[in-house]
């Protein structure tokens, strides 16, 4: 841990300083496997250069032979990139690009529980990661949409075939996106907000 002298801490650039009225925050989690484009998506819509928050995870590894009593502990640093969008003078939206592995989710208090919803970012070359993530979000009751990040060399599957492969309920929106493009990433977030809004409507 290397703490720099507080006089040398670089805070937000002057254009990134929030107005004093900005006291309400909401968050959305962008979750997916390694290299699926979470940070790219965060960066393309964020008004600030994406930042990183870290947490140290201590894993206790118990020896195979229970009688030996041998335990080893290893500390791993887990990083999470995030960005920010000012919605109004009062309201700020934070976007967190979160690793797909559930063991990381407990490191940050209420990461999913308090989130308005989640975007599951999918790479069609590695569907199994997304399959696991979707199952865990369903278990936790976190509403989500699925966004398929289009990689140039990835096979293109019709949305319906992917829906079947991911065992995704009909009501959950699924869209194609290019995480590098601000408009495309913004549209994914809008899809999520529309979906959350529809959940608030009385069902006919």
């Amino acid at each position: 841990m290397d703490f720099r002298n507080s006089d040398t801490i670089t805070g937000p650039r002057s254009e990134d300083v929030l107005p004093t009225t900005a006291t309400s925050a909401v968050k959305v989690v962008i979750v997916g496997g390694f290299g699926v484009g979470k940070t790219t998506m965060v960066g393309s819509v964020s008004e600030i250069r994406p930042l990183t928050t870290e947490e140290t995870m201590t894993q206790a590894g118990v020896g195979v032979d229970d009688n030996s009593g041998v335990e080893t502990k290893t500390a791993t640093t887990v990083a999470m990139d995030f960005g920010r969008i000012s919605i109004t003078e009062q309201l700020v939206l934070y976007l967190f690009g979160t690793p797909g592995q559930e063991r990381f989710w407990f490191l940050w208090n209420g990461l999913f529980e308090g989130a308005l919803g989640a975007v599951v970012l999918v790479d069609t070359r590695r569907l199994e990661v997304s399959f696991d993530v979707i199952g865990r979000l369903e278990e936790r009751g976190v509403p989500f949409v699925v966004a398929v990040n289009t990689f140039p060399d990835a096979p293109h599957h019709p949305v319906e075939a992917l829906r079947t492969a991911l065992d995704l309920p009909d009501e959950v929106p699924m869209v194609d996106c290019d995480a590098r493009l601000r408009a495309s990433s913004r549209d994914v977030l809008l899809t999520l907000m529309h979906y959350l809004h529809s959940l608030a409507l009385p069902t006919a």
Binding site: M1, A25, G110, G114, M193
Partner: protein, 109 residues
């Protein structure tokens, strides 16, 4: 590797110490200028939070783990050097006017 004793000092105690229930997006605002008696890390937080800043941003700018920042903030909150505003969290019934505000804000991007 850093000095483990140092980490212990800035978290203010062993693991499991009581901490304020802070979310990644709890907004923090300083209520006062740092006095000479506060720790350098806490002085840095007070300087950073002259304008509102989320706990996640404080963690990022100070390059300190989230759990260390929450420990530092717990003390600053107890001594009323900062104030916090809890985030708006997902409710059982979604708040439609909030979602509409977010949509409107996103459309301006």
């Amino acid at each position: 590797m850093g000095d483990p004793e140092r980490l212990y000092v800035i978290t203010g105690g062993p693991d499991g110490a009581e901490r304020a229930p802070l979310d990644l997006v709890t907004m923090i605002v300083a209520r006062d200028e740092p006095s000479p008696t506060v720790q350098p890390e806490q002085a840095a937080i007070l300087r950073l939070c002259r304008a509102p800043l989320s706990v996640a941003e404080i963690s990022a700018y100070l390059s300190l783990p989230f759990s260390v920042v929450t420990a530092l903030l717990t003390e600053l909150l107890a001594t009323e050097l900062v104030e916090s505003r809890a985030p708006i969290v997902r409710a059982a019934l979604p708040d439609r006017s909030l979602l509409e505000a977010v949509m409107h804000g996103l459309q301006k991007l």
